[in-house]
């Protein structure tokens, strides 16, 4: 349903926001576009939603070329941006009705649809207040609702949960899941591996405008591995002692700056237990010892071989 | 006092790019505009029209400056920075003083611009040093009085929707325009329709511009001077007290 082929975008002849990006998202699946700020995620979304034209390459959305048939692409997509793009002077309901009517619904149908969405997103109390009075969580909800007014075949969600509290974030995740269950194709961008992990059927990792990894969440995690076991002493001088205790474990690393020793834990808790046992024996006061999931940096580390900026 | 100095400096730095050049350009522009538009229309007898209208132009620019002060005071009151200042060991009225110093600075710049442009078109200070000094002092008194009033409005009503959206300064444009245009500063009283002439003669803007015209010429009537001073000092005291009270108010 979404297909990019060698898409490149250069701004002002010098800034290469995207270089040779190719991937596809099958119909009815959720794809997570993962990358740091400035990696090119938003540029990719802008091209796919016809806001920008690619400098080279092709992109097909819902069967239409974004350059040749932008109108038909627009008829099939719904978008939300990093900045909630709503008319702040209008109420939530009025925003939904406006977007519905702009998409071609008759006023009555738009009103009914707005009612349905307001109910679904649990916004009864706030619906008739001006958006400018909303909290960020509420704005995002209306923002996503506005994208769903005419059930789009393809949905672009640009960092939909940035800045949200955990409860609202959960709510967005649930919505995305149900959308996908109903057959929509979703491309969402995010900085958070766990979000991509929780929501996506496939993940595309972008860095400096290039696709550096592409696969299901499982595949990606297997590539990166595993969890890490990290140990931090209370007294930074003891770091070397800890290091001495675990240095022989595979791929263990010591970092003076963050005052941690990290050991990849392919066997999860088993590795953790081993590390704990060794550290316990050397009688060092620990500030922290934990088993944690790989961070985005570690994903990049493994995939690119260098720390991304 | 260093707090005041720091705040004033900050204000100047923030506004130096837009507001100060605007004040200077607006003064020159408004003067040029009215001079060209009306000099062959309004009969000012012996006096060169540029000589005649310079004071009222200065007053008009002062009004416009006061309007921007409303917004600035309101913004200071509500902005993160403004709120944060109130938790520091800084005298409560320091921001107010800083704003007033800024207004005076801007007033001086506008005055200089007006005098410069006026000079090009034939305005001359005919009264000698003392009268010129009196001219400048009266202008600054008036500027300060208006600015204090504007500050009180902005600070006092900072939360109201009308001030928050900038609508208040827009609203005040109309009465201010009427006061300026229907004054003897723009044209002698008898060029106005008869029924309007007493209003025109006695309204405060006319009084003040008449005094300024007198200072520029080197002679001013005592009763007129007294009225103008009464207005300026009266407004200064009343608005000053109000502004301080508003600034001191905690919620």
């Amino acid at each position: 349903m979404i297909e990019l082929n060698g898409v490149a975008k250069t701004f002002d002849g010098a800034i290469h926001a995207l270089q040779d990006v190719s991937f596809s998202v099958p119909t009815g699946t959720v794809c997570g576009l993962l990358g740091h700020n400035g990696a090119g995620k938003t540029t990719a979304i802008k091209i796919l939603s016809t806001l920008l034209r690619p400098t080279s390459g092709h992109a097909i959305v819902a069967g239409y070329d974004v350059v040749r048939d932008p109108d038909r692409v627009r008829e099939s997509i719904g978008t939300t941006g990093q900045v909630t793009a709503l008319d702040w002077e209008l109420t939530g309901r009025e925003n939904l009705v406006l977007f519905g009517r702009l998409r071609g619904m008759r006023r009555k149908d738009a009103r009914l649809r707005a009612d349905v969405l307001i109910d679904q997103f649990d916004m009864e109390d706030a619906a008739d207040r001006r958006v400018i009075t909303y909290s960020i969580g509420m704005m995002r909800r209306i923002d996503i609702a506005a994208a769903l007014v005419v059930s789009p075949k393809v949905l672009f969600l640009d960092e939909p949960t940035t800045g949200l509290d955990p409860r609202s974030r959960r709510a967005v995740w649930d919505t995305v899941a149900s959308l996908s269950a109903q057959g929509a194709t979703v491309l969402l961008t995010t900085q958070y591996l766990e979000e991509a992990d929780a929501l996506s059927d496939s993940i595309v990792v972008i860095d400096h405008g290039r696709v550096i990894a592409n696969g299901t969440a499982e595949e990606l995690k297997r590539r990166v591995g595993f969890s890490y076991c990290t140990v931090s002493p209370v007294n930074p001088a003891d770091l070397s002692k800890i290091w001495a205790a675990v240095a022989d474990l595979k791929d263990a690393q010591s970092d003076d700056e963050s005052n941690t020793v990290s050991v990849p834990a392919p066997d999860g808790v088993v590795t953790f237990a081993e590390v704990f046992r060794r550290v316990d024996q050397i009688d060092v006061e620990l500030a922290d010892i934990s088993l944690r999931k790989p961070s985005l940096d570690e994903v990049f580390l493994h995939i690119t071989g260098n720390v991304s900026t | 006092m260093t707090a005041v100095a720091a705040l004033t400096e900050r204000m100047i730095r923030i506004t130096a790019r837009d507001d100060l050049p605007f004040a200077i350009l607006a003064t020159a522009g408004i003067f040029g505009f009215f001079n060209f538009a009306l000099r062959n229309v309004i009969d000012t007898g012996q006096t060169n029209y540029a000589q005649y209208i310079l004071p009222v132009i200065i007053i008009q620019v002062t009004f416009l400056g006061a309007l921007s002060t409303v917004d600035r005071a309101a913004h200071d009151q509500r902005s993160g920075f403004g709120i944060g200042i109130r938790t520091l060991p800084v005298p409560v009225v320091a921001p107010l003083i800083a704003r007033m110093l800024y207004c005076l600075l801007r007033g001086v710049l506008a005055l200089l611009a007006a005098l410069a442009v006026g000079y090009l078109f034939g305005f001359r200070m005919g009264g000698g040093f003392l009268y010129t000094a009196a001219f400048v002092i009266l202008v600054l008194l008036f500027t300060l009085a208006l600015s204090l009033g504007a500050d009180a409005t902005g600070t006092g009503a900072a939360r109201s929707a009308i001030v928050r959206t900038g609508a208040s300064s827009q609203l005040l444009l109309i009465p201010q325009m009427l006061l300026v245009m229907l004054s003897t500063g723009m044209a002698p009283a008898d060029s106005f329709p008869d029924w309007l002439q007493s209003f025109v003669r006695y309204q405060p803007v006319s009084q003040v511009t008449q005094t300024l015209q007198g200072f520029a010429a080197g002679g001013v009537s005592v009763s007129n001077l007294a009225t103008s001073l009464a207005w300026c000092l009266g407004l200064l005291v009343v608005f000053g007290a109000l502004a301080v009270r508003m600034q001191r108010r905690t919620e």
Binding site: R103, G104 | F36, N40, Q170
Partner: protein, 262 residues
């Protein structure tokens, strides 16, 4: 979550009205600004007439009101358009523009919608100013039917002027350019007002005044009221209007697209 509602096809007229309606709702909810925009030209007219009316009558023997009403109506139209265009910058920061751009609407509809809203607001202001003008002594020597084109001229000015302003607003980072254009244009209107009468200006200034687009526009409105020959100023005004629209219209649309992509 499928909707069974039938979707109408994209239509410029309907979409323009939707966009216009959105703006009119904004203005309705900020009554102070709107009322002020409607009343400002009226008070300007009154004040200016009081200031120069007697003098102009003495100098030219004609009632200044015939020049002042068109001037204030047009100046009011421009002032309103300027304020509205400043709001575009705010909307650009909201990020609403890209969102609207990505909808399946005709590309020009956001622009035409804004122009429709401007026209509606200017019409209201124009009617009010004309009414006050009549109260102050304006008469339609050419017959009362002339009121209709009289009221519509400021509306046309607002539409063309807005197009120019929008083309600038979507491209420039600061409001400086807009304010400058606004100041020049309003000055040009007042220069065309007949107060001062063109005859009293030095010859270089007279040329400058007579060859800018505001002059024939004001002259046309005067002709409508005084019953004089209006065909020539009308034609010149129309040429100016068409030329400006032809140049700035596409610039505005292209600017919208560029701004949406940012």
């Amino acid at each position: 979550m499928t909707t069974d509602a039938a979707l109408r096809k994209s239509s410029l007229a309907v979409e323009s009205f939707l966009f216009a309606g959105r703006l009119l709702t904004h203005w309705r909810r900020e009554p102070v600004m709107t009322v002020q925009a409607l009343l400002y030209p009226t008070f300007l007219l009154i004040a200016y007439d009081l200031l120069v009316g007697k003098s102009i009558l003495k100098i030219t023997g004609r009632d200044s009101i015939y020049g002042l009403v068109p001037t204030c109506a047009i100046a009011g139209a421009m002032f309103g358009a300027l304020t509205a265009s400043l709001a575009i910058r705010v909307e650009l920061d909201w990020g609403l523009l890209p969102r609207l751009w990505v909808l399946p609407v005709k590309r020009a509809s956001a622009l035409t919608g804004r122009l429709v809203a401007e026209a509606v607001r200017t019409l209201a202001g124009s009617i009010i100013v004309t009414l006050v003008g009549v109260l102050l002594g304006l008469r339609f020597e050419g017959g009362w039917l002339a009121v209709i084109p009289f009221i519509l001229v400021p509306v046309a000015v607002a539409v063309v002027f807005s197009t120019v302003l929008i083309a600038i607003a979507v491209r420039s980072k600061s409001s400086m350019a807009l304010i400058l254009v606004g100041v020049f244009s309003v000055s040009a209107v007042f220069a065309s007002s007949g107060a001062p009468p063109v005859e009293t200006l030095p010859s270089w200034a007279r040329l400058l005044v007579q060859f800018q687009p505001m002059y024939p526009t004001v002259q046309y409105m005067r002709a409508l009221a005084e019953g004089g020959p209006g065909l020539q100023p009308l034609l010149v005004s129309l040429i100016w209007a068409l030329a400006l629209t032809a140049v700035f219209g596409p610039l505005a649309i292209r600017g919208y697209r560029a701004a949406a992509g940012r």
